[in-house]
């Protein structure tokens, strides 16, 4: 489904600020796998996401989605296959456009855009059906501007927009980090529901260790641009935050910053 082969990426090579963001990263995900990615700031999690989505090009290595080589496809070409939700609730929607117009743009993700009206009766019904699953009452506000929604509502809408056309890969980049705890929980629940419903192959970056343990069937830990821990299935289910921290110390020979604010 998703294959990353020997991905390396260095920023500012040859200068004082040189940073090896990714070093020989290999990763294979099967259909329907739900991977959570943890690691401290600067570990390369977001860079990994950006390399998959195409907003960054790797120095070496390649990205393969569904046996299709996509390494050199532009971001907008690749997003035919990829749904994405960003950390910033403002980033995933167009604020001055209505809910139905936003959904119409998301609906066109894997189709060719033409000169037909973006919103029509049939699509409205479809949008309503999908909005109802969020249980936020957004189905009655189809013509409201998205800028008027709260952060939680916008993030729920972003999540729906990224997923309802069933992308081959779903990328979630700390998508609950900017929300208050109760909204974050709501979005986490919706995420679990949607991923389960569509059986999406998902990568989720998070700073919340508990969330990383609760969701998904596989977990990787990154540090200094490398994957240092990779657990799945029953092994993952047996994990706890303490075990994760111990594991990190064991591998790296140093203590991971057990800062509750950062790691939850």
């Amino acid at each position: 489904m998703l294959e990353l082969n020997h991905i390396s990426l260095t920023f500012n090579e040859g200068t004082m600020d040189e940073k090896k963001a990714l070093q020989h990263v290999d990763l294979q995900l099967g259909h329907g796998d739900f991977l959570t990615v943890i690691g401290s700031n600067g570990a390369g999690k977001s860079t990994l996401m950006n390399v998959i989505s195409g907003s960054l090009l790797p120095d070496t290595g390649d990205v393969v989605i569904d046996d299709k080589q996509v390494t050199h496809l532009q971001e907008y070409q690749r997003s035919q296959l990829i749904g994405r939700v960003f950390q910033d609730p403002m980033a995933g929607t167009a604020p001055s456009m209505t809910i139905e117009e936003n959904l119409a743009m998301a609906f066109a993700r894997n189709k060719k855009r033409g000169l037909k009206p973006g919103v029509n009766k049939k699509r409205k019904t479809l949008f309503k059906e999908h909005l109802e699953t969020l249980n936020l009452g957004l189905e009655d506000r189809l013509t409201a501007k998205v800028g008027l929604l709260s952060g939680g509502e916008r993030q729920a809408l972003s999540l729906l927009m990224a997923t309802f056309t069933e992308p081959n890969i779903l990328l979630l980049d700390e998508h609950t980090a900017a929300l208050d705890p109760s909204r974050a929980e709501l979005i986490t629940d919706i995420t679990a529901d949607i991923v389960d419903k569509f059986q999406l192959t998902t990568l989720m970056v998070t700073h919340n260790m508990q969330q990383a343990l609760d969701l998904g069937n596989r977990l990787i830990m990154m540090d200094k641009g490398q994957i240092i821990l990779d657990v799945e299935g029953q092994e993952k289910e047996a994990l706890t935050i303490e075990k994760l921290l111990d594991e990190f110390q064991h591998i790296r020979g140093e203590k991971m910053a057990n800062d509750k604010a950062v790691l939850g």
């Binding site: 997003s79 990829i82 033409g114």
Partner: protein, 326 residues
């Protein structure tokens, strides 16, 4: 007096096409495009040269629109592929077009006074059916002595402008149109939904300048000449129209906003023609007047808002004071 207002409305309707173009770049695409000063003249120049050389006015006008589209696309290319700042891309294209326009015209001014234009057949058909008569009668009945020569031009221009308005309204709701609007609203988002924002910007700026060139071509044919300097300050006039229209008529929906922009263009023309009737003002003061109108249109709504907010707070404070007094 009536005739000068009539003339202002007439040309305002034609300038409204240019204002719609400015609306597409400034508001929809959030791309402050200064190409307008040049592409307006390009439209006028292409139409004038072709008419003088015996082409049909319709072919000339359509070619002018195409020329404007290409000019806009080049600005879009400079920005997206050349990674040049939008303002600078527009300025560069504007400067380049000044020379290109002179090349197209071969001289700095082409008179069209005795040529037949797109308006000629419309006017002669209109007058042969004597359609102006009822309007002349109404004017006379209202007690206004001087009546404009013909009503054909104003209706013809209105029809063209409204057609362009409705096409714009429809286009901005299509799948491509939605993506275009999102490009101006949230580029990162629409790119993550597989839209090629570079192409959208190039085409969007192209369409905008096609409208501007159409406006230029019609103004040249209406006014009877094309001049290399006729586009100077055009962008500010377009902006003035957009801002005045939005402030006066609102922006509730797209259809409302495009109508507001047309209204703004007409009102701008009326204000200018009124200002020029003031004795101590001269034609050369036009640009200064324009600048003052734009500043006023930008500042006044904010001042009014601030005033309203101040009064609201004062009222709240008084309420609390009286409650405490009890």
């Amino acid at each position: 007096m009536f005739v000068s207002i009539f003339g202002a409305v007439e040309s305002g309707i034609i300038y409204a096409l240019m204002a719609l173009g400015v609306y597409i770049t400034f508001r929809v695409l959030d791309f402050p495009d200064l190409t307008v000063d040049g592409s307006f003249v390009t439209g006028a120049a292409v139409a004038a040269v072709m008419i003088v050389n015996g082409q049909s006015p319709l072919t000339a006008t359509i070619t002018a629109v195409a020329a404007g589209f290409i000019a806009g696309c080049v600005t879009g290319l400079l920005h997206t592929k050349g990674k040049i700042n939008p303002l600078l891309s527009g300025i560069l294209m504007m400067i380049a077009l000044y020379s290109i326009n002179l090349r197209i015209m071969g001289q700095s001014n082409i008179p069209l006074l005795n040529e037949s234009t797109v308006f000629t057949p419309v006017v002669s058909l209109w007058e042969s059916l004597n359609l102006s008569a009822p309007f002349h009668a109404i004017i006379a009945w209202l007690g206004i002595e001087s009546s404009p020569r013909t009503w054909a031009v104003i209706f013809f221009a209105l029809i063209i402008t409204l057609i362009i308005k409705f096409v714009t309204d429809y286009f901005l709701k299509t799948e491509v149109g939605l993506a275009l609007r999102a490009t101006g609203d949230n580029k990162k988002m629409i790119r993550s939904f597989s839209a090629n924002t570079d192409i959208l910007i190039i085409v969007g700026v192209g369409i905008s300048n096609a409208f501007v060139a159409l406006s230029g071509a019609l103004i040249a044919q209406h006014g009877g000449f094309a001049d290399a300097g006729m586009g100077i300050g055009m962008i500010i006039i377009g902006l003035a129209s957009v801002i005045i229209g939005e402030a006066l008529f609102g922006t509730k929906s797209i259809a409302r906003t495009t109508l507001a922009v047309i209204g703004g263009a007409i009102i701008y023309r009326i204000v200018v023609s009124m200002a020029l009737r003031v004795d101590f003002l001269e034609t050369g003061d036009m640009k200064l007047i324009t600048a003052i109108i734009v500043v006023a249109a930008l500042v006044t709504p904010k001042l009014l808002d601030a005033q309203r907010e101040k009064r609201r707070r004062l009222r709240k404070r008084k309420e609390i004071a009286t409650m405490a007094g009890k």
